[in-house]
Each structure stands twice: as C-alpha cells, then as structure tokens.
C-alpha cells in the first residue's frame, strides 16, 4: 500500500485507521512504513482519503503473502484459492466429520489480536510441532508456505514478511493434549508477538465437553464464550 505524495494534502485522517499503526508522518509528509504494513487494505477501503491519494501498488513474491493473509478480500491464488486465514475447521463438522469423538483440534493464531506477526515466529511453531510428530493441517493456506514438511521449515526469503495473523492447525488424540500444551507454553516465552489459542472437540450427548477439564488441568482457562456447531448441517456425518 502506498500514498501518492503529490496528491496527499497531509490531513492525517487515514492515520488512526491502520490496524498496524504503519502510517507515519515525517517532515510533514504522511507515508506508509512498508516494513510494518501488512497490506490489509483498510486504509484504502475505509479511511475515506478526501483526495484518493492511497493506492494499492503491485505486490510481488514474497510481499504478496502479506496481502493474502491480511486482507480477507484477497484469495490465496497460489494455494487453496480460498479467502481468509484458516479452514472450515469445526464449522462444518456436522457434515464432514473431520473431528471425531475423542479427537482434539488445536488452532494457534499468531499475531492476533491486533499485533501482527513475522513469518519467522510462525516457523517456530511449525518446526516445534513437526518435531513432536504432529501433522500440520494441509487444507490450511499456511501449509503451502512450508518448504520442508519433514522439518516444518519455511523458505528463508519469506521469514521477514509481516502478516496480520496466521494459523497453525493440528489434530491429535486426548493422550497428547498435555504434551502439546506444555510445548506451546515453552514457545510463548521467547515470542516477539502474541497468539490466540482455540481448541475443538465434539460435545457429549449430555452437553458435556470433556476437554474443558483437561485444559484446566494444564493451566489454561477456557473462555465463557465459544463457537458452537448446532448440528443443522445435512447429510449428517456418521461416526464409525
């Protein structure tokens, strides 16, 4: 994203709109700090520049990754063709049966909320989880960034790219929950950003969610609010 200096009248109206705080003023010139900009497009779509001085420049590899993971209107052209940063995960589980009884889904969304993330921070998780023997979700657009699935390493030339957020998705059995959460705690210590954790499971017939007690034992506090698939999708997935 760029500002046309010749058109800009210096009103500074756009500055507060940037979720990354990347619009700056120096020597009375308003400009976008391209290293901090994640190409989310909010300044262009919502800041209502009175002279239309903000414009989207052409993005080449690897900078285009920023736009694909930060602007929900931009699809992942080279991988899943989808918009957004994740998968259908549990949203269609009533139909797909992706998460079966007893299976646990874990989503680590790096950079969220409102901080942003360099891909070198994401790589710390993909490497650590791969070392644990966890299989990273292939349907997630983030998987396409991994150069070596046996190590979880990314291509070196993309590590400095900054995104609004990116999600690591894995699935495992309940016997591995404590181990995975312990590893996640270790990764949190030296991180230069934040991450939000989400955990998925099927609900027992009586409405009970067994993993909630398990995550509390591991020292985590589940939120009072959650996403609930209410089972309206058809045809219903059958549990074998």
């Amino acid at each position: 994203m760029k500002i046309n200096f010749e058109m800009c009248i210096g009103c500074e109206n756009c500055i507060p709109y940037c979720p990354m705080g990347a619009i700056e003023v120096k020597d009375e010139v308003v400009f976008i700090n391209s290293d901090e900009c994640v190409e989310c497009g909010v300044c262009l779509s919502s800041a209502n520049c009175p002279v239309e001085a903000i414009y989207q420049d052409e993005l080449e590899w690897p900078r285009v990754i920023r736009s694909q993971f930060s602007n929900p209107k931009k699809p992942h052209k080279s991988s899943t063709k989808r918009h957004g940063r994740g998968t259908e995960e549990m949203k269609t589980n009533d139909v797909t049966g992706r998460f079966k009884r007893g299976e646990i889904g874990l989503g680590i969304e790096l950079g969220r909320p409102g901080v942003g993330v360099r891909l070198r921070e994401f790589e710390k998780f993909t490497v650590a989880y791969t070392k644990l023997g966890l299989e990273l979700e292939k349907a997630n657009s983030a998987y396409a960034l991994i150069q070596d699935p046996s190590t979880g390493k990314l291509p070196p030339e993309i590590l400095d790219e900054k995104l609004m957020s990116i999600i690591v998705e894995v699935k495992f059995g309940p016997e591995r929950l404590q181990e995975v959460l312990e590893e996640t705690k270790k990764l949190a210590k030296d991180l230069d950003t934040v991450f939000s954790i989400s955990i998925i499971s099927k609900v027992e017939d009586n409405g009970f969610v067994p993993i909630l007690d398990m995550v509390k034992e591991a020292g985590f506090k589940p939120s009072v609010n959650c996403k609930t698939n209410v089972g309206l999708g058809r045809p219903l997935a059958e549990e074998v």
Binding site: I15, P16, Y17, C18, P19, C40, V42, S46, P72, R82, H83, G84, T87, E88, E89, M90, K91, T92, D94, V95, T96, F99, E109, R112, P113, G114, V115, M164, I167, K185, D192, T193, V194, F195, S196, I197, S198, I199, I200, S201, K202, V203, V209, I211, L212, V215, P222, S223, V224, N225, C226, K227, T228, N229, V230, G231, L232, G233, R234, P235
Partner: protein, 213 residues
C-alpha cells in the same frame, strides 16, 4: 477460520453478543447453496438482527437503500460464511428454531456464551454438536492494546479494526464531535464480514467515554 472466536469481554457484556455463521460444506452439500443461503438470510432478516451479511454481500452498515434485500440479492453461492449478529438469546432461539424447521441442511455455528447458546439450542430442539473454545492470548502480551479497547477490536476477527481508531472515537465522543452510535457505525465499516456488533460497541464506547479505561 476462527474469526468469530476470541471476542473479549465480561460475561455481562458478552451476554448481549451472539454471532451466527452459516456455511455450506464444500464438496458435501453445495447443491442449491445459493438459494438456501438466500432463504436463511430471509429468515434472519425477519428477526431484526444487529448485523448481517458477508464480505461478498456487504453488511447492514455498508449497503445503501433496503439493506437486507440488497444483501440477499448479493448472495453469490457457496464460498465463505454468511453471518449475522443478535443481541439477545430469546431472538437467537427463535431464529434457530425457524432455521431448524426450514431444513436447509446448512451448517450453523453460534459464537457466544456457551451456557446461553445451550439454552437457545434447547428452545430450538437442537443439541450442540461440536465446540471451539478460546484458551486466551499468550506470548508477548505487553504488545497488546488495552483490555477495553480489545473488547471492541476483537469483534472483527480479521483484525481490521484499529485500536488507534477506537481511541480516536472515544476522544471524539468526549469532545462532543460524534455520538457513540455514529462512532460504533464508523468502527463497523472496516469489518467486511458483518460480525461487528454495533449495539455492543455503542454501549462500550459510552462507558469508555465516561470512565477511564
């Protein structure tokens, strides 16, 4: 993705915040998806939602004219979730019941306080199938915006709402330059997916303009 999860707030102010996401399962039940999604929005529109739409259709605060009709007309088909926001559990229960009766076969997900969502499901004759809980924010949390600001910004899971814009809106309300309602609507604009709860934001902004945060 998890764009309706991780909404921060107190139990009290989250009790007025229920997001409904509706989607086809790609590769499983895409037949007649466009008409089914339109019908689901027709049902939702009858119940006066706080917000509805998707990034493909626009939402109640970006479209012009008869908003609900425009949004329904703009439904293109199977891709992405189609969303709505309700501010009370009774209305949510009624909508779920009508969607259940309509037998559209689309997957419906509710984001909200689990104990309350269970009540709405019971009213509608439904049982929760799968859940996704947030385990909070970790890592270098010193980089986070203040808690009260996050209660507003996290209503857009894609992170499109800037903490600086929330602060500016609060300052402008304090100076009498804008009403809390108009400020909430301005904050809603960058959230393309119709997940932003303008009523809740208005209430939080009023509180922030009076008390320190």
């Amino acid at each position: 993705m998890t764009h309706s999860l991780h909404r921060e707030g107190s139990r009290d102010n989250l009790n007025n915040d229920f997001v409904m996401l509706t989607t086809v399962a790609v590769g499983y039940n895409e037949e007649n998806a466009k008409e089914k999604l339109k019908e689901h929005f027709r049902i939702i529109a009858k119940y006066d939602p706080v917000n509805m739409g998707s990034h493909g259709t626009g939402h109640l605060y970006t479209c012009k004219g008869s908003c609900a009709d425009t949004i329904i007309d703009n439904v293109k088909g199977k891709s992405h979730t189609h969303n709505a926001v309700f501010s009370d559990i009774e209305t949510l229960g009624k909508v779920l019941k009508e969607l259940n009766d309509a037998e559209l076969g689309l997957s419906v997900i509710i984001s909200g306080v689990y104990d309350e969502v269970k009540k709405a499901c019971e009213y509608a004759g439904l049982k929760p199938h799968t859940v996704n809980f947030s385990l909070g924010v970790h890592g270098n949390t010193a980089k986070l915006a203040k808690q009260k600001i996050r209660e507003i910004t996290t209503m857009c899971g894609h992170g499109m709402i800037s903490a600086n814009l929330v602060e500016k809106m609060v300052a402008d309300i304090q100076k009498g330059k804008i009403t809390p309602r108009r400020a909430a609507e301005k904050l809603c604009h960058p959230c393309y997916c119709a997940l932003f709860n303008v009523e809740r934001a208005e209430s939080l902004l009023k509180e922030m303009a009076v008390n320190s945060y």
